[in-house]
């Protein structure tokens, strides 16, 4: 991979730092009128998800990381690995639990999601911002109660548990914001 100098660092660039692939979030040039120039760089470690700030002397270089984001179709899981397919090439990839993380709560078979590959292997998986999932278990609905604003837990087909309004029943499909895990609206009535 190419080397990048601090002046080339851009948000979104993927670099190797301390042996791990990292994504550059922000790069601030800091220089007193007299004295050493620095770059104050915000990074995210793509393996651990940790975000932090590292200061470099201006002009230092980092090696680029072989990291690419691909849109893939989620196929299935055998509970050890999660399988994804690139829709154009039909090439399949298996991601382990470390790569999938909490995203498994929102993966619906045959839906598109973003898979980040590092040296050709899935490093992380990001579900769509919104998914529609069916409720498999919740307390019986209070028919017609759309006004009181109370909530109850509901378990979805993926195993995720979200808070839903009291009038929602088992078998209904709801829309969830995967970034917050919050119920958005009811998609269909059973």
């Amino acid at each position: 991979m190419a080397n990048y100098s601090t002046s080339e660092f851009r948000s979104g660039m993927k670099v190797m730092l301390d042996g791990d692939p990292c994504s550059i979030l922000d790069n601030e040039f800091v220089k007193p009128g007299k004295g050493q120039a620095f770059n104050r760089v915000k990074l995210r470690n793509l393996k651990t998800g940790r975000q932090w700030e590292r200061t470099f002397k201006s002009g230092e270089t980092l090696e680029g990381a072989d990291v690419v984001d691909r849109e893939m179709e989620y196929l299935y899981t055998d509970s050890e690995f999660w399988y994804f397919m690139e829709p154009d090439t039909f090439e399949q990839y298996q991601a382990d639990a470390a790569a999938v993380g909490d995203s498994h709560l929102w993966l619906k078979e045959n839906e598109r999601c973003d898979v980040t590959l590092y040296n050709g292997t899935p490093l992380s998986v990001a579900p769509p911002n919104f998914v529609e999932l069916e409720i498999v278990e919740t307390d019986p609905g209070l028919k017609g109660d759309t006004a009181t604003g109370g909530t109850k837990p509901a378990k979805l087909t993926t195993g995720a548990v979200v808070k839903v309004p009291l009038f929602i029943s088992t078998g209904e499909v709801i829309r969830v914001d995967t970034r917050t895990g919050e119920y958005q609206n009811r998609v269909s009535k059973s």
């Binding site: 002046s7 730092l17 301390d18 601030e28 040039f29 800091v30 220089k31 007193p32 009128g33 007299k34 004295g35 050493q36 120039a37 620095f38 104050r40 932090w52 700030e53 590292r54 200061t55 470099f56 002397k57 201006s58 002009g59």
Partner: protein, 318 residues
């Protein structure tokens, strides 16, 4: 071509014009003469932390010339020729300096006051800043006092290892290695500067002699200090000034020390400005001088968070 349009909105360009006329009125009222000096000179700055652009080609060029990183040397030659107090609004150029507060080509207001020490000049800098920004409280800390109060470390007597430990307790510099001034620069630029001058004008003065640049060095009790000052407002460096070194022999030694550092670091050496050295040998009057970033002053006046927002055409648009 999507970048043909100006970066700054026209209202800000009108404010820039107003700022320039405020500056000119300020100095005209005080009897300070406006001057202009060349931007292309046969010498470059020796300071290892500042890199000039070099103009290499042209029928009139016997050898490459350097775009000036500040008009300091030429203005000192005028002072040695008995110009009296002078100021200049100059374009300055510094390679590699680009970011939210830096554009490689920028405007410097530089002025010199024969007979002033650096404290007298700080008062005048405050008066100019207030003429542009409105009345503000003025704070002054010595460099030493600032480090002792804010970081509980003495920048003059702490060991290099102690300074590095303070840096590492607050920041992640990775495997960075360096001398005393590197750690001091990190503490100043990352931890101290962002807090300086909130709603005020904050002067820091009397720097370690290793950071004296072109300032007089005097002994102050147990340490020697460079009579240099910086002005900060809203966490941003606005100006850098000196009670100027007038001794030509010492000046030559500092230039040569800079070039020795450049050699050590694998940077190109710079030809010394023999015109300046001859002027100083002839006699530079005791004086203080300061350079103030005009674009940054305009950022403060307009509340702009990026220097691009106050330039007609920033580096990416020309």
């Amino acid at each position: 071509m999507e970048h043909w349009q100006p970066a700054a909105d026209l209202g800000i360009l009108r404010q820039r014009a107003g700022l320039l006329s405020t500056i000119r009125r300020f100095f005209s009222d005080r009897g300070v003469l406006e001057v202009e000096t060349p931007q292309l000179c046969s010498h470059g700055i020796t300071d290892p932390a500042i890199e000039p652009f070099i103009v290499a080609d042209g029928a009139a060029l016997a050898r490459p010339r350097f775009l000036q990183t500040s008009p300091e040397y030429a203005m000192k030659r005028l002072l040695a020729a008995q110009s009296g107090p002078i100021y200049q609004i100059a374009r300055a150029f510094r390679d590699g300096e680009a970011g939210a507060r830096h554009n490689p080509e920028f405007s410097l207001l530089e002025w010199y006051r024969p007979g002033f020490d650096h404290h007298e000049l700080m008062r005048e800098v405050a008066a100019l800043a207030e003429a542009c920004l409105g009345a503000r409280q003025v704070e002054k800390y010595s460099y030493r006092q600032l480090f002792l109060e804010r970081l509980a470390v003495d920048p003059f007597t702490a060991s290099v290892a102690e300074l590095e430990a303070v840096v590492r307790s607050h920041l992640d510099p990775g495997d960075m290695a360096g001398e005393r001034d590197l750690w001091l620069d990190l503490l100043m630029s990352h931890l101290l500067e962002p807090q300086l001058g909130a709603g005020t004008l904050c002067f820091i003065y009397d720097y370690p002699d290793s950071q004296a640049a072109l300032a007089q060095v005097v002994s102050a009790g147990d340490v020697s200090v460079g009579q240099r000052f910086e002005l900060y407002a809203e966490g941003m460096e606005l100006a850098n000034g000196y009670c100027e070194l007038t001794d030509a022999t010492q000046q030559r030694q500092r230039f040569e020390r800079d070039n020795a550092l450049r050699r050590e670091r694998g940077q190109p050496e710079r030809p010394l400005d023999e015109y300046l050295l001859a002027a100083m040998a002839h006699g530079l009057p005791n004086c203080s001088g300061v350079a103030l970033g005009v674009d940054r002053l305009l950022m403060l006046m307009t509340g702009a968070s990026s220097i691009q927002d106050v330039l007609a055409f920033d580096w990416q648009r020309c």
